[in-house]
Symmetry: C2
């Protein structure tokens, strides 16, 4: 853990909040002691509900390195990641995460993702956004195409 | 629920798997009976671990409509969403989700996100990717900037 990276994430977050460009969140990806990706919340700025600081930092780091996974990398973020970002962190195979503000501090500031944390473990049909499994005979067709394609890139 | 949209999501998924462009997943966003966003898995194609079909369909729909939330919209996806996509669906305020293949069918085909589902509810320090809260006096600075900025766009 190096404090300077967490300070950088907080600085990005504060600058973003001050500039009205987006929400008060910032994140950096570090590899071998160097920042290889930075992100600030841009949800309202670019009309993208997935444009959280962590997601954008991961995307930038992957683009720079030309990879789709980030083993050997650490994420420093101004605030505890939401469930979407947590999923992104797992798919990116990041080594470790450091965060400054907690979920509870974010909630006190009006950014409450506790509700989403509660929804994830529920069965699809029990969630507040109704999710329904529709049985179709061709549901497995994409997976069969995948398995039958010798040029596929596993990930 | 209109079967044609779920068929379209599966068709996108199968075509993507056949073309080796990315994983066997496809999704469409529907508003007022019309497709306003489509996505296929592009994780390996564009080096972006967050480029799941659902995320890309949400981004496209938001871009087209010039909005950062999608109330009044439905998501049709070839496969039950992973936790990251579930988070994205909640942030996007989508009305309803229909999926064809289940988590279990995806796992049988080698796409197992049960592990991530198990990780989300754990305390940060108990997760397989270690996540640590670092207490800093300036942790709340971004939120204070946000609250003090009258030009902020709440979301």
């Amino acid at each position: 853990m190096q404090h300077r990276f967490l300070h950088r994430a907080i600085e990005l977050a504060a600058t973003n909040a001050r500039s009205s460009a987006g929400g008060p969140f910032g994140a950096v990806i570090v590899k071998d002691g160097e920042v290889i990706g930075e992100g600030v919340n841009q949800v309202t700025a670019i009309n993208d509900p997935t444009a959280h600081a962590e997601v954008l930092a991961i995307r930038e780091a992957c683009r720079k390195l030309g990879v789709y996974q980030l083993p050997g990398c650490e994420l420093y973020t101004s605030c505890e990641p939401c469930p979407m970002c947590l999923g992104a962190i797992y798919w990116a195979h990041i080594d470790r995460v450091y965060f400054a503000a907690t979920q509870q501090q974010a909630a006190a500031a009006g950014f409450d993702d506790a509700f989403i944390y509660e929804q994830i473990p529920l069965a699809p049909e029990q969630r507040s956004i109704p999710m329904a499994h529709v049985e179709l005979p061709e549901a497995m067709a994409p997976f069969n195409e995948w398995k039958g394609n010798p040029r596929r890139t596993p990930y």
